[in-house]
């Protein structure tokens, strides 16, 4: 085999589903291509790792499978027909028990319960209209009377409530006003006493602080004067010492000069004597 086998052939070989000539061909090709053989070995390793994913144990549920051959009375159409018949029977029995009557005569359909009335006993259209009119008038009169009475009661109640409420509100306003005045008076008195107390504290504190400050200032000033005096004395002493040294030096210089002059005079006298 010169050409590379396709993926289907490779995978079939890998899973051992290749036979005969094709198997021999791919084996020969793999011998010439060790890198492909290595790839198949890697597949094998991967498959071994995935094979470690074993089966989960599970218990099959108990089975309850019924007989396939159902009796004819369990067939759908039979059950539906029986259902309709049973419903009709229930309706008929109920109608009989409630005394339902249905009749049709001279273009008139009548459905009713209990005994039927003969056709001649019915009221005329005018009689019915008169009854309805009369009933409406009575109703209107009753409603108007009831409405007037209700309105009067309502107005009385409202008036009474308004009066009672306004008295209550006045009383409340008075109470609130009195209470507020007392509160303001107490508040102002409290404010006044607080301010007085704070001012006293402040003045006391301020006086004490000032005293301490002046004392500190006086002490510092006396220290300063003492230092100044000490420094002046040192300077005077230093100046006197310097004058003394200069005088000494001057005296020594003068003595040397005099000695030198005396010696010079003496030697000149000897020379002239010789």
């Amino acid at each position: 085999m010169k050409d590379k086998p396709d993926e289907s052939t490779l995978i079939a070989y890998h899973y051992g589903e290749l036979e005969g000539e094709e198997l021999a061909k791919i084996e020969a090709w793999l011998k010439q291509h060790p890198e492909e053989e290595q790839r198949l070995a890697e597949w094998k390793d991967a498959r071994m790792i995935f094979q470690s994913l074993g089966d989960k144990e599970v218990i099959a549920p108990p089975i309850l499978i019924g007989d396939n051959h159902r009796p004819f009375w369990k067939e759908g159409y039979v059950r539906m027909s029986l259902g309709i018949a049973a419903s009709l029977l229930v309706v008929m029995v109920a109608a009989r028990l409630m005394g339902l009557n249905a009749s049709y005569s001279t273009g008139e359909m009548r459905i009713g319960f209990g005994a039927t009335t003969p056709p001649g006993t019915t009221l005329s259209e005018e009689q019915v209209a008169g009854m309805i009119r009369k009933s409406l008038e009575q109703n209107n009169t009753m409603i108007l009377a009831a409405w007037n009475e209700d309105r009067k009661t309502l107005e009385d109640n409202i008036r009474k409530n308004v009066l009672a409420n306004s008295e209550r509100i006045d009383q409340l306003v008075r109470n609130v006003s009195t209470g507020q005045q007392e509160q303001i008076r107490e508040f102002v008195a409290q404010l006044h006493s607080d301010n007085l107390s704070r001012m006293q504290d402040y003045l006391q504190l301020s006086n004490q602080n000032q005293k301490e400050y002046v004392e500190t200032l006086l002490v510092d000033f006396s220290k300063y004067l003492e230092d100044q005096r000490r420094q002046d004395l040192q300077q005077v002493s230093t100046t006197l010492t310097s004058i003394q040294q200069n005088n000494d030096q001057f005296r020594k210089d003068t003595e040397q000069i005099l000695t030198s002059l005396i010696n010079t005079g003496r030697s000149e006298g000897q020379r002239s004597a010789q």
């Binding site: 993926e7 995978i11 899973y15 498959r47 994913l53 144990e57 599970v58 099959a60 549920p61």
Partner: protein, 200 residues
């Protein structure tokens, strides 16, 4: 004890006892197929139940006894796809997704637990199993179907092709790219046979 072929033949003829025995024999396989596909116990149970209800209703239409296995997986795959569609259309979250990674207490009655296992080893295996399941979930649905059928259910390529109603070459191609993807995922996570201490 009935032979498997006899069992299928009798089930096809409407023998409910044979159908029940078939269900008992295949329930674990179909549950595990669903579990590896979804990594979700509830969905796997749902898939298994729906698969066997469909089997009971339609087994009389099975043409040959020998094609029972791919036929059953066809039903299971269709149930899985239906569940996937339902999940995509629904915003509901399975309680299984909210469970902690460790052992599910609620399933103790269903899942046998080997009490003699070393706890540390058990934990390591559990973590590895979660990791591998997540790798499987990262495959495309088409690749996952083929990979689970081939790797865990041991179907031949011809049977997978029959079950999915696609060509054998398409199955092999999906397996090829699925396997490559799995290998890359393991490499990225630095998981090798040595690191997991594979004991054969």
């Amino acid at each position: 004890m009935m032979h498997a072929d006899d069992l299928i033949a009798r089930a096809r003829e409407g023998d409910t006892v044979a159908q029940g025995k078939l269900m008992q024999a295949w329930y674990k396989r179909i549950y595990n197929f669903g579990y590896k596909f979804f990594f979700d116990h509830d969905l796997a149970m749902e898939v298994a139940q729906k698969t066997f209800i469909a089997m009971h209703r339609n087994i009389s239409q099975l043409q040959q006894d020998s094609s029972f296995r791919p036929w059953l997986y066809t039903i299971a795959v269709n149930c899985c796809r239906e569940e996937l569609r339902r999940r995509k259309n629904s915003r509901a979250v399975s309680l299984h997704d909210l469970r902690p990674v460790d052992e599910e207490q609620s399933q103790v009655w269903e899942i046998a637990v080997n009490r003699e296992d070393n706890p540390e080893r058990k934990l390591r295996q559990s973590e590895l199993a979660d990791l591998l399941h997540n790798c499987l979930l990262q495959l495309s649905e088409e690749q996952r179907e083929v990979v689970v059928m081939k790797e865990y259910e041991g179907l031949k390529f011809r049977e997978i092709a029959d079950a999915l109603s696609i060509s054998e070459n398409t199955v092999k191609s999906r397996m090829y790219y699925g396997l490559e993807a799995m290998k890359r995922m393991l490499e990225r996570r630095k998981i090798t046979i040595e690191t997991i201490g594979y004991e054969g």
